[in-house]
């Protein structure tokens, strides 16, 4: 594929991605900070629905021999440390690397500062990468997947996980209806009725 075709495809896919992020209100800092305080679950709902859909479509494509998989190398230390930094950053930014762009599009002016910080982070990592790479790649067992470890065909295991996620989401939705979480202003700062008032214990529904 030429670069021009790739750019046009990227723009078209990004357009759909951006509409989905804005309409679901998951790009709102209120959704993201609220999720990390386990107060609102819009982010988990969008995220897990996308993962379950991904499991289903990738399983179908791989099962039919239309594509191979592209799992990333397992880097236990780097996955852990990088993930922790990213997680803490998500709360301060009120965004993930992708949702920063949805915030810019929707008009949040502070997202320009987040973008600036993100570009600085990319530059800092690029300059440090030659030094960090030996530590990041140390002891990697390669591109491990659960289907390889458990010796179960990927499409089958993916289907099982997709069903489990959908079941979990149905329970979550009964516990915390999305309309209440989105709130009147659509800023994802709504309060779902207290779980005790619904006769359920607090905590993750699944």
């Amino acid at each position: 594929m030429s670069v021009l075709q790739a750019v046009l495809l990227g723009l078209a896919m990004g357009l759909v991605f951006g509409v989905a992020l804005e309409k679901s209100r998951v790009f709102e800092p209120g959704a993201i900070v609220g999720q990390m305080q386990l107060r609102r679950f819009i982010m988990l709902k969008v995220f897990l629905a996308a993962v379950a859909t991904g499991l289903a479509v990738i399983a179908a494509m791989q099962g039919l021999g239309m594509t191979k998989l592209f799992p990333k190398a397992t880097l236990y230390g780097a996955d852990l440390v990088g993930g922790l930094l990213l997680g803490a950053g998500i709360v301060l930014a009120g965004a993930c690397p992708g949702t920063v762009f949805a915030q810019l599009g929707a008009g949040y002016r502070d997202a320009w500062w987040t973008l600036l910080g993100g570009l600085a982070g990319a530059l800092a990592f690029s300059l440090l990468e030659p030094t960090l790479a030996p530590m990041i790649n140390a002891g990697s067992p390669g591109k491990l997947t659960l289907s390889a470890i458990w010796d179960v065909p990927y499409p089958l295991l993916a289907a099982v996980f997709a069903v489990l996620i959908v079941a979990g989401l149905m329970a979550l939705e009964r516990w915390r209806p999305w309309r209440e979480e989105v709130g009147e202003a659509g800023d994802a700062m709504g309060e779902a009725a207290a779980p005790l008032a619904r006769g359920r214990a607090p905590g993750l529904a699944d």
Partner: protein, 171 residues
């Protein structure tokens, strides 16, 4: 039926749409959905203008050119366009910052928000580059491929996020 003029869609409709984007990513681009390496492509080009030696760093060099790198840059640009279109169509354009910052961190002005946003932005991309993926690459795509490293990375993202969020006031 969801309409573009609606203020909010079900998170499940949005999630399914995002998950379906794996189809063109896998079949047409031979890759999975991701967003954070686009930052390396953008800064790599900018930094190489100032100091051409930056483009010689192997990690930067492999992010500078080719269809996949520019596809991802276009993807994040498209996210901004899509969100702008969606917010315009439903009359939900946003302003200086979310009210959540006042509530959770007592931040009253955009000037006070700026350093926090810069630090947060730095951490999300620096952290994502250490882990070789963000909430898209590890989260959406890695989990959907049942990759072990992605499961570790996503667990760490939520652990780090929950720990940081619990230090703030009620959002």
């Amino acid at each position: 039926m969801p309409r573009i003029s609606d203020r909010a869609w079900s998170p499940y409709v949005a999630g399914v749409l995002i998950g379906l984007l794996q189809v063109p990513a896998f079949l047409l681009m031979d890759t999975a959905l991701g967003t954070s390496s686009s930052y390396v492509t953008l800064t790599g080009h900018a930094a190489a203008l100032v100091d051409p030696a930056v483009a010689k760093i192997g990690y930067v060099a492999k992010h500078l050119s080719g269809a996949k790198n520019w596809w991802q840059v276009a993807l994040v640009a498209g996210i901004a366009l899509g969100a702008a279109l969606s917010a315009w169509a439903s009359g939900t354009r946003r302003g200086a910052m979310s009210p959540v910052w006042q509530r959770a961190m007592g931040i009253a002005s955009p000037a006070a928000r700026a350093p926090v946003a810069v630090l947060g932005g730095f951490l999300i991309v620096f952290g994502a580059r250490i882990a070789d993926g963000c909430t898209s690459g590890h989260g959406l795509s890695g989990l959907a491929q049942l990759a072990v490293g992605s499961i570790v990375a996503v667990a760490a993202m939520f652990a780090g996020g929950i720990a940081a969020a619990m230090l703030l006031r009620r959002a």
